[in-house]
């Protein structure tokens, strides 16, 4: 479903060139649960942002469902983000002035779904995350774990092809972190495709496949052995 061919991302500031991704080739199929590991500054976030169409590669090819995404314009990329991806960030990235349900509704707003259907779907997604009683709370009235669950509900609500999570447990204590990972495991068992970025080997063990990158290059790509 996702296929990267010799994909590079180079940041150049004056004479300084930072090669964040160096000729990466990779494919991820539907239904996979992939963890991307690597030290800080190795290019994990850069990779995820390019996969999620938030950023574009300097060169190389990116095929999504067989289509070459590299030639898409901003509006087409916005539509791809809306329809194909659900994002979960380390810092939650909820809109502080909106209630939980309004936050979850947003992807449906931009997808053009009607108000009534939108509300129903958003409530269903929140209930799935065990937040049925927190629908009208604002992010500041929720714990970190609850906020991250709202963010997951928002990522799921438009039934994306891929869920992209960049260190989703990074801001949480280990107990809430484990709860969030249980949710990802459950989502995977329901057939969702998940790409997860993490530092933490214990978090990465929830995945089925583990890719390690260093200095913008893949150094290993292996099945996760069950304990």
């Amino acid at each position: 479903m996702i296929r990267l061919e010799n994909l590079s991302k180079i940041y150049s500031m004056g004479d300084n060139r930072v090669v964040a991704l160096n000729e990466i080739s990779l494919s991820i199929d539907k239904g996979e649960f992939v963890a991307i590991m690597g030290p800080s500054g190795s290019g994990k976030s850069t990779l995820m942002n390019i996969i999620g169409c938030l950023d574009v590669a300097t060169h190389g090819k990116y095929y999504l469902d067989g289509r070459d995404i590299t030639s898409y314009n901003q509006n087409q990329l916005a539509e791809v983000r809306n329809k194909k991806f659900g994002f979960v960030f380390q810092g939650f990235n909820l809109l502080p002035k909106l209630t939980a349900v309004e936050n979850v509704e947003l992807p449906l707003v931009y997808a053009g779904v009607g108000a009534k259907k939108r509300r129903e779907e958003a409530i269903r997604a929140l209930e799935m995350m065990g937040l049925g009683k927190r629908i009208y709370h604002r992010p500041s009235e929720l714990s970190g774990g609850q906020q991250q669950r709202v963010a997951i509900a928002r990522a799921l609500v438009n039934h994306p092809s891929v869920i992209l999570a960049d260190e989703p447990t990074g801001n949480l204590d280990s107990k809430s972190g484990m709860e969030i990972m249980e949710i990802f495991r459950e989502l995977h068992s329901q057939g969702n495709t998940i790409i997860l970025i993490t530092h933490d080997i214990n978090v990465a063990r929830y995945a089925k496949r583990m890719i390690t990158i260093r200095d913008g290059q893949i150094v290993s790509d292996e099945e996760v052995e069950r304990r």
């Binding site: 942002n49 999620g52 938030l54 950023d55 901003q74 509006n75 916005a78 539509e79 983000r81 809306n82 329809k83 994002f87 960030f89 990235n93 909820l94 809109l95 002035k97 947003l106 992807p107 707003v109 931009y110 997808a111 053009g112 108000a115 928002r154 438009n158």
Partner: protein, 388 residues
């Protein structure tokens, strides 16, 4: 994204920062208030002036002889003019400023020496006593009809029929009191004295009639009668620049020209104040875009297109500005009524000004919001998300 939702979003964003939104609106509020107030008072006073001119009678023609010293019309000329078809009445007038005395009180006032026809031509009637009669003119009686201000000034009362007054040192007896008219463009209509033409010619030491009023049978024949009079006088003086003929339509069109100028000036003020308000809005919207960079990034990450963000910020600035416009209209309404009472000028607030002010303020919001909104819309999603 739906329009109503966008508006609701804009309103909740405005409400979430009430003080700042209010200060942003202030420029527009002040501008619109000024425009509404000034236009209401301006229109109110021109309406009053026009209605005063209309009350002169729509079939009044005023003729002034302007040329050289010995130019004047004779009794014969007046008879000829009165004979023009369509003319119903004519009144020659000799006027001047005089000093009037009664007992130990004196006052200065304007004097008009005329004929009985004046009554109908100028729509000026007595409330007490009688007006001038032909006999007064024939016998050169020293009788006077006075306005209420003159009576008040000299006697402190109004039932002064039969009282004696001295005009420029000559004794007159009061035979009539004029109806109260109130003040007009030309000053008070109640501060004057009317005496017979023949008596006046002696008093003012002038026999030259250089002003006369003509009334027509109907307003429709005014132009035709004006033409006849002009032809007659041109033939008489052999010079078309030695006299002036006015009628009401001309006076009204002069007033309308003045109104148009006033409106232009007010529009200029409106334009400048809305411009200043618009710059204020642009400034705050730019700050707002910077502050909300992360929000824009989040919205873009979950699928907002350029147009969605553009519309969101445009609507927000249009709503701020439009709301400022509405508040300005309300304050302007109150301001116009307040000043109208204090300055004793009528206020006329009309729907077109209100609609225009609303439209303009929303337009200003859109125009000045365009740059900040397009700046927001063209943010790169990943840069916006990373923004701290």
């Amino acid at each position: 994204m739906k329009f109503t939702r966008a508006i609701r979003m804009a309103i909740s964003s405005i409400l979430s920062n009430k003080m700042r939104s209010f200060l942003t609106m202030l420029g527009v509020i002040i501008g619109v208030t000024a425009v509404i107030t000034l236009i209401a008072l301006g229109r109110g006073s021109t309406q009053r002036v026009s209605s005063q001119i209309e009350s002169l009678g729509t079939n009044l023609i005023i003729i002034n002889i302007t040329g050289g010293r010995n130019r004047s019309v004779t009794q014969e000329d007046l008879q000829r003019i009165k004979g023009i078809s369509g003319v119903s009445e004519l009144a020659p007038v000799l006027s001047g400023g005089v000093t009037v005395k009664a007992g130990n009180k004196n006052t200065s006032t304007s004097l008009e020496a005329t004929t009985p026809g004046y009554q109908q031509v100028r729509n000026t009637y007595v409330q007490l006593g009688r007006f001038l009669l032909q006999n007064d003119l024939d016998m050169r009686f020293r009788v006077a009809v006075v306005g209420v201000d003159v009576a008040d000034e000299l006697f402190g009362r109004r039932d002064v029929i039969g009282e004696e007054i001295s005009i420029n040192g000559v004794e007159f007896s009061i035979v009539g009191i004029l109806e109260e008219k109130g003040s007009s463009v030309a000053g008070s209509d109640d501060n004057r004295i009317i005496i017979p033409l023949t008596t006046g010619q002696r008093l003012l030491r002038s026999t030259e009639v250089r002003t006369f009023y003509v009334s027509t049978l109907s307003p429709d024949v005014v132009n035709q009668v004006v033409g006849e009079i002009e032809r007659f006088l041109t033939r008489k003086f052999n010079d078309e620049n030695s006299f002036r003929v006015f009628n009401q339509t001309q006076l009204l069109s002069t007033i309308n020209e003045a109104t148009a100028t006033l409106t232009m000036m007010l529009s200029g003020i409106a334009g400048i104040s809305l411009l200043v308000g618009g710059i204020g809005i642009m400034n705050i919207m730019l700050v707002s875009v910077t502050e909300r960079t992360r929000e824009i990034g989040i919205r873009k990450a979950i699928g907002a297109k350029k147009r969605d963000i553009l519309v969101q910020f445009l609507i927000e600035s249009a709503v701020i500005s439009g709301l400022g416009g509405v508040l300005g209209i309300i304050v302007g309404f109150m301001g116009a009524n307040f000043l109208s009472r204090i300055l004793n000028i009528p206020a006329a607030i009309s729907a077109d000004v209100v609609l225009l002010a609303t439209g303009f303020s929303v337009g200003v919001g859109i125009i000045f919001g365009l740059y900040p909104a397009s700046k927001a819309a063209s943010l790169n999603p990943i840069d916006a998300l990373r923004y701290e």
